[in-house]
Subunit: 336 residues, 2 copies
């Protein structure tokens, strides 16, 4: 069985061979193929589409590496692409840094890299620069990936949470907690394997449906910390409060099952393909219709309001409001 050796990260022949045989084959594009120490990207291709560069990074340490709906490679493309895309930019370029544990099966790395390449290609994203490190057995757990992403923000898009005011409305683009519940089910062996799948997806096409709606004010993808964390960020940045309505929260039955089983709250669960959107009230129906017209948003819903009174609250099924604190921690580590 072919495995990753220390030599694959050493700067010598073994590393060059891994780069040539795997990464250059899978990710091939004119920028990467130059094989300089940096990708050289024409600035004209950014200025043609916007006036600002969106730049974001995430490291991915998810355990297990493969899960229903995706794997660490797909996640590493989707997650960073989405962090760029919620600015209104179309993500175009990614960097990619691998940290590999000695002894990792080459077939595992190949499957991850192939999935990254497929996800990136399908989204029109080029992986243009990269790095590979190998650490001895036990110094890392199998495989970590970092990606950083770039895209141009159109001049007419000025989304940001500081513009929220009381009266605005909160939407979510679909069901809550699918990614988090999927990983929890795998890790805790809850036995719901057929019913759960990560929502891991590049959201650019869904986000672009919102671009020409003037009332759209701010977007976030609700990853670690879930929709609750986004509500707290929106509240903090705008100086307003947020009130969510429990009865309007879209949640899959299996996710609700996991939550009830473990006494957890789907609002706190990680998503990897869901947006939270703040819009002016008079634009809410239009935004909702746009979201629902796209396959990635067909279960979109209006879930709450921006209000004067600070804090984040949840109105329960019987109309009683309770404060939603941001938990100290999420239910489980290595969710993404």
């Amino acid at each position: 069985m072919k495995t990753i050796q220390i030599a694959h990260g050493s700067g010598g022949q073994a590393m060059q061979q891994l780069i040539n045989d795997l990464f250059m084959q899978a990710f091939t594009n004119p920028w990467l193929n130059e094989q300089e120490d940096q990708a050289r990207l024409s600035l004209a291709q950014f200025t043609a589409h916007g006036d600002r560069l969106a730049f974001s990074t995430d490291s991915y340490v998810i355990d297990p590496l493969f899960f229903p709906g995706g794997n660490i490679g797909k996640l590493a493309v989707c997650g960073t692409a989405n962090d760029v895309a919620v600015s209104g930019a179309v993500p175009r370029f990614l960097s990619c840094g691998f940290i590999l544990e000695e002894g990792l099966e080459m077939a595992t790395l190949e499957a991850v890299v192939t999935s990254m390449a497929q996800t990136a290609n399908a989204a029109g994203i080029a992986i243009v620069t990269g790095d590979t490190k190998v650490v001895p057995r036990g110094a890392a757990d199998k495989l970590f990936i970092n990606t950083a992403g770039l895209g141009a923000i159109p001049a007419d898009v000025q989304w940001g949470a500081q513009s929220l005011t009381p009266g605005d409305v909160l939407l979510v683009s679909g069901t809550l907690g699918d990614h988090g519940a999927t990983i929890l089910n795998l890790r805790e062996q809850l036995g719901l394997d057929g019913a759960l799948s990560s929502d891991c997806a590049v959201l650019t096409p869904l986000i672009q449906t919102l671009r020409n709606i003037p009332g759209v004010k701010a977007l976030r993808d609700a990853t670690r910390g879930g929709v609750n964390a986004v509500a707290h960020e929106f509240a903090h940045t705008s100086g307003c409060g947020i009130e969510l309505h429990e009865q309007h929260l879209p949640v899959n039955d299996a996710v609700r099952g996991v939550c009830e089983l473990l006494g957890l709250e789907p609002l706190n669960f990680a998503n990897e393909g869901k947006l939270v959107i703040a819009v002016r009230r008079d634009a809410a129906e239009q935004a909702l219709a746009q979201l629902r017209s796209h396959p990635l948003g067909h279960e979109a819903a209006i879930i709450g309001d921006v209000v004067e009174r600070k804090g984040v609250r949840l109105t329960g099924l019987y109309g009683i409001k309770r404060t939603l604190d941001l938990p100290h921690a999420e239910p489980l580590p290595r969710i993404c």
Copy 2:
């Protein structure tokens, strides 16, 4: 003793507090302070200085975290800044992703972050977007960092190894192998502690001295794999050969001592603050003078030639040429 907990990477309150109390304090700048999911960088500040964006990434897994001349944080700024700067760009912006092991001492993280901030500030670089992941004890070794960097390449700079032709000359900006020998000494306890120090440095000011010399053709910083790896890259990309002259290689006494002790070759040792530069022969003296006029380049030397005959060769002290293969692996893992 305060340590990193799983909660610090969870997307909840503990993570928000770590971000606010440590990262936002140390790295503070207008882009980071917006606390959106992505930094938003005016494209005008790139187009004012060039026509192409240089984009590069590296992950840092060095062991030990602290060493004479630097630490993993300083290295994570210098290494990526240099990969951007060798294109001719002035590196301006970095992203930063931390992977932390549960139980890491908070004081260790603080020292690393402080060093990153100091190194970046001194080089005019802003750390504008970031990410923090925490993995359980044993799933990573203490602390890994990824950085990705951006800068604009001036339109009149067209450096690249494909332009090398026979007759060109190779320069190095100073002594070989200081970083590699320093880490090797620490790890193998060779007892040369006072005499060795990493050359870890941001090379932008040194590189900028070369910008207006028309005969400069290609630059690399000689990190993993050392000057030998750069010579092989230059040879491979240009389709030419490279001949180096042993008697002209600048090597510190202590580094030479480590090499003789262990039967190793300073040409293969990692550097973190040394350039290899290919120039037209008629520009070599001017480039050498420019390099030597700068503190980071005062031991610069002409070390070799680009030749017709393919391959990389070393002319020894007695004039005998031998082929320099690219080793299968470097002397030690986790060098950077």
